[in-house]
Symmetry: C2
Subunit: 297 residues, 2 copies
Amino acid sequence: MEFKVELKRRQTDAEKIIYSFLPAEEGLQKTIFSAMNYSVKAPGKRLRPILMRETFLMFGGQDEVVLHHFMAALEFIHTYSLVHDDLPAMDNDDYRRGRETTHKVYGEAMGILAGDALLHHAFDTAAASFAVPGANPALIGRALKILTEKSGINGMVGGQVVDVEMEGKPLNAQQLDFIYRLKTAALLECAMMIGAVLAGAENEDVLKIEGIAGKVGIAFQIQDDILDQISTTEELGKPVGSDEKNHKMTYVVLNGLPQSEEAVKQMSEEAVADLDSFANEHGFLKELILSLIHRRK
Amino acid sequence: MEFKVELKRRQTDAEKIIYSFLPAEEGLQKTIFSAMNYSVKAPGKRLRPILMRETFLMFGGQDEVVLHHFMAALEFIHTYSLVHDDLPAMDNDDYRRGRETTHKVYGEAMGILAGDALLHHAFDTAAASFAVPGANPALIGRALKILTEKSGINGMVGGQVVDVEMEGKPLNAQQLDFIYRLKTAALLECAMMIGAVLAGAENEDVLKIEGIAGKVGIAFQIQDDILDQISTTEELGKPVGSDEKNHKMTYVVLNGLPQSEEAVKQMSEEAVADLDSFANEHGFLKELILSLIHRRK
């Protein structure tokens, strides 16, 4: 119970930060600003910005102003990827997080453009941190490179592409692992690495954090597949069984439910053990990672 | 004739630079890498990277390594905007620059993703310049902010949104000017400003360059509208009269051909006069700007 309250508080904090970087719904671009805000304000776990901030705090980060820019930027990137993923030419989903998807509300052209606009706005929000008084441009440069790399063609969007292209085709374990590493793990690595970098962590520690986040990411994606198969639409807020409907090869399809649940458990525990090797205080971060294997949506 | 040879040489140089930042067509993401390369390698004027480099040279810029990253980044952004603009849900164009559009060759899903991938890759290419030996992170930070801002929701993509939304609706001169400033002028401002910034130009001069590029941008867009009305498909490499077909309100529709041609001439001349107020050598830049009013494609 204590954890749930703590998590809720952090989600509220993260949303306050993220929303502060959204555009005001005025001017000639009003419609697209509204579509961007609609997309970002859909109920979400805010897992990536929370992971970023908790890692920042774990490494003794103090001044949060630059961090806030990157928290918002990462959530905008995550959101844009969902908006484009839902498009008719892609997964063609009408519901997401219990609400109509962006293109259902604003039309297909605006769905494409709202995603584009969010991606632009993500990098603009991150780049705006150079102007924060006292900001360290070299540190921001490192954080920005992590953001562009982990979300890019050898990260999230690369995984998304392979995922779409492989739909309906048989995949071996290695190919599936490749997709999961890029499509899902990359953005969690991005979150935790940027948190560490902005707190001034040593390079060696940033790489260790990357490894931990990678394991969390894979566990998180397998849990997603499990939920797609076992949840009800009401619990999940989107149609269940959509992977099967779309002939998607997932870890669950390849290995069955019991082995999938075991894999989630094992990888989460490994990640936590690696985390525990740090002397730094990380109580909430640990609970958060463990909670991912019990989540129901 | 001399100018055409000089321009051709610069285009060849720019393409060599831009292509060097494209991904190798290998690995599981091969299809998307191929779609990205197909899109970028379509014949183009390479106007933006050339303007960037010429402005850099005009301000005495020496070390070109960081500049090359930004030349490629800007051309990737320009290309992504064309790829998404051509999509069925947008302008629904089958031909661009004399070749089939990206989504016609690779399908609609890959068309969306190739555009996304190019936008990601643009910012990743720019951010990679932080790692160039001897690079100045503060200067790169300024250039990056210009890149994200001028291409973003208050720049290119913002203009694109308003353009799409206003289709078929009456526009007054002020609204049309707003769209042209964002949709077209913003990226030319971006090109010339980044060239100046990376060469170490004073803030005051960067702002003056922004004003010049803005005028060039508006002139360039009106000339585009003129060509859409008066060229043949063969000359232009894409269907002509598409503005009329799409019920697009343009400067030409609003003001007629003679006034439009006069506006292009006047704005180009103003831009050149402003440029001539700089003592710095800018012979080719001047010719380039003047050539824009005579272009036939």
